[in-house]
Amino acid sequence: MSGTYLGMPAFPKAAHEAVHNATLRGNLRHATHTIRGKRAKAVAEMSDWAELREAGKLIKDHTLRHLDRYLVQLEESVTAAGGTVHWAVDADEANRIVADLVKATGETEVVKVKSMATQEIGLNEALEAEGIHAYETDLAELIVQLGKDRPSHILVPAIHRNRGEIRDIFAREMSEWGRPAPEGLTDTPAELAEAARLHLREKFLRAKVGVSGANFMVAETGTLVVVESEGNGRMCLTLPETLISVVGIEKIVPTWQDLEVFLQTLPRSSTAERMNPYTSTWTGTTDSATADGPSVFHLVLIDNGRTDTLADEVGRQALRCIRCSACLNVCPVYERAGGHAYGSVYPGPIGAILSPQLRGTASEVDASLPYASSLCGACYEVCPVAIDIPEVLVHLRERVVQGGPVTEKGNKVVLKPAKGHAAERAAMRAARWAFSHPGALRTGQRLASRSRRLHPRTLPGPGRAWSATRDLPTVPAEPFRDWWQRTNGGKGMSK
């Protein structure tokens, strides 16, 4: 994935800073609780929500099962409509394809619609290395880009910033990138939005090349769909002469009719809107002399770990994700740790299962992500395509500590357990042995009871993580099973 994230520390370490940053935690708490409440209301309005959720799940599962067939159909439809389809196996290949396409136009600037796929492959950085400037036009992405920051939320990339911080970023950075922020800019939303609008308008009108992602691709007609709220996407999709769309292969739906389900569940789950403000669709090329839209259209389909993920029968459900980010907004861990701690463009619960599948579990951060959850299940409850995130988390924990068969770049390999779990594995085996022998458990309980006056108030080793902030329970004088045996459940005579 994006080079920006290389060398990220493991989740607990990255989360440590966020937990102790009061401003960040305040910003996140306020934002996630607001969206959470609105979403719950928007969903409650729909009497058939459960059916829509099931339908979305089934459509996605069906499509994934026949992905090969639908991708070929999509390529045929796009080609027939005048577009060109490119296939990229990984991030490097995708970046190279896009860079070459831009260079072929002779341009050195592109405007971008917010896109998770291009974030995932680190396209902006790759283009920069080729002397091409990519301008983000989504308001939150603009804030992140101007602030030389990283996105921390799928839908609201600048969720970790408050209005004051945004004002400072605009005032300081806009002039470096184009039209400067107006003099005396305040932190009122209307003024901030106007500053961004004026700044961006210059870019829209100048750009000859647009780069987008897509929320959906309709196989039957080769149509791509972007769902957005600000209209910047519409500008990028219609004004430039050349449009390059970079999309993950799992974003396909077979027919227009299938879209109906997602165009209901996505807006309500993500922004709590009944209907989406801007839903743009584009099919191949247009004659730009007579119609709006690009006269050259390229679709870059990226795999980047998706077919490997598809090969895993438990983990593949992560590919159903429609990137609504409802799981982030209800996640108590995300709320405290913030998006950056996940070391990926996909933060929160979905990121914790997607990143270690797309990238593998070899790095420190990827091996720690399946544990970045208390398994409370709130994410599964809100997911509009019913991804059982806790199930996949536990499945990936197994991969980390026990290894096992996986598919890597299309080949079946057997993973060894990740490093650093030897002590835990030994403890788990010892516990399993003790629990398999009730006599041993009882001896242990009695030892603990008899030595209870000697127990320390703080624990050494990994236990320190508990006793640093929590009192330990006191061990009772007599475990239950001894009481039961002594009294026969209170009926017998006590000794």
């Binding site: 607990p12 989360a15 440590h16 937990v19 102790h20 935690r25 029968e313 438990v314 108590p332 861990v333 405290r336 740790a337 399946p370 544990y371 959850s373 208390s374 398994l375 409370c376 299940g377 709130a378 599964y380 409850e381 199930e391 536990v394 990936l396 924990r397 197994e398 991969r399 500590v401 026990q402 835990e424 594995r425 788990m428 085996r429 516990a431 399993r432 003790a434 629990f435 398999s436 009730p438 458990l441 309980q445 990994p462 993580a465 508990w466 640093a468 902030t469 929590r470 009192d471 329970p473 061990v475 009772p476 007599e478 475990p479 239950f480 099973r481 009481w483 039961w484 459940g489 209170g490």
Partner: protein, 251 residues
Amino acid sequence: MRVALFLTCVNDTLYPETGRAVVKLLTRLGVDVDFPMGQTCCGQAHYNTGYRHEAEPLARKFSDVFREYEAIVTPSGSCGAMVRELYPRMGERARAEGRGDTLARTLAPVVPKTYELTEFLVDVLGVTDVGAYYPHKVTYHPTCHGLRGLGLGERPRRLLQAVKGLELVELPGADECCGFGGTFALKNADVSAAMGADKVRNAESTGAEVLCAADNSCLMHIGGTMARLRTGMRPVHIAEILASTEEEPTV
């Protein structure tokens, strides 16, 4: 009705008073309770930390110990969810790994017969007023595995509302996880502690003396946080409240 008490390893070792309360309560309601001495642990900590294969012998043992009983009752939403939700999944995974139906067949008999305590009271015994007396102001925290895993819903609240003398106050953000999560509390201690502190602050804001839940693991974390933050509130398992009577009060 002959019922087995599956107390859980945590309660057996650290919270025997909860076990004694369940026995007292069920006996009062006319249930013949047995505590099979062969029981230990359902394997949840192993399973949820990624050691599914280490959890399998524990699940098989659970089934051996409990399969002959009419019903298995446990005062733990999370251990109850382990048996009901995850044992079938363990069977499916074993099948997917080409190991046949043996595990699934071994575990199947205990799955539908395992009940979390409040579920057993309301659904099987059909009671909501268990004749308890507990003159305290109480707030209720629905633990995640009870709430979302087992779908306990309003059962615990209905039981508490029927307790004489008890004043039940709503906990703000009740549905949010307290941050325990088994090994999560150690592996992500900072985040876990922050979640625990928020839960305790919410509980404190209710003015209740007691925070009650149907899972001592979560209460161990919440109670440990309460003690460290010197709130003066107490964590109490719902079984102890329901077992309490005017003649024999739980303090």
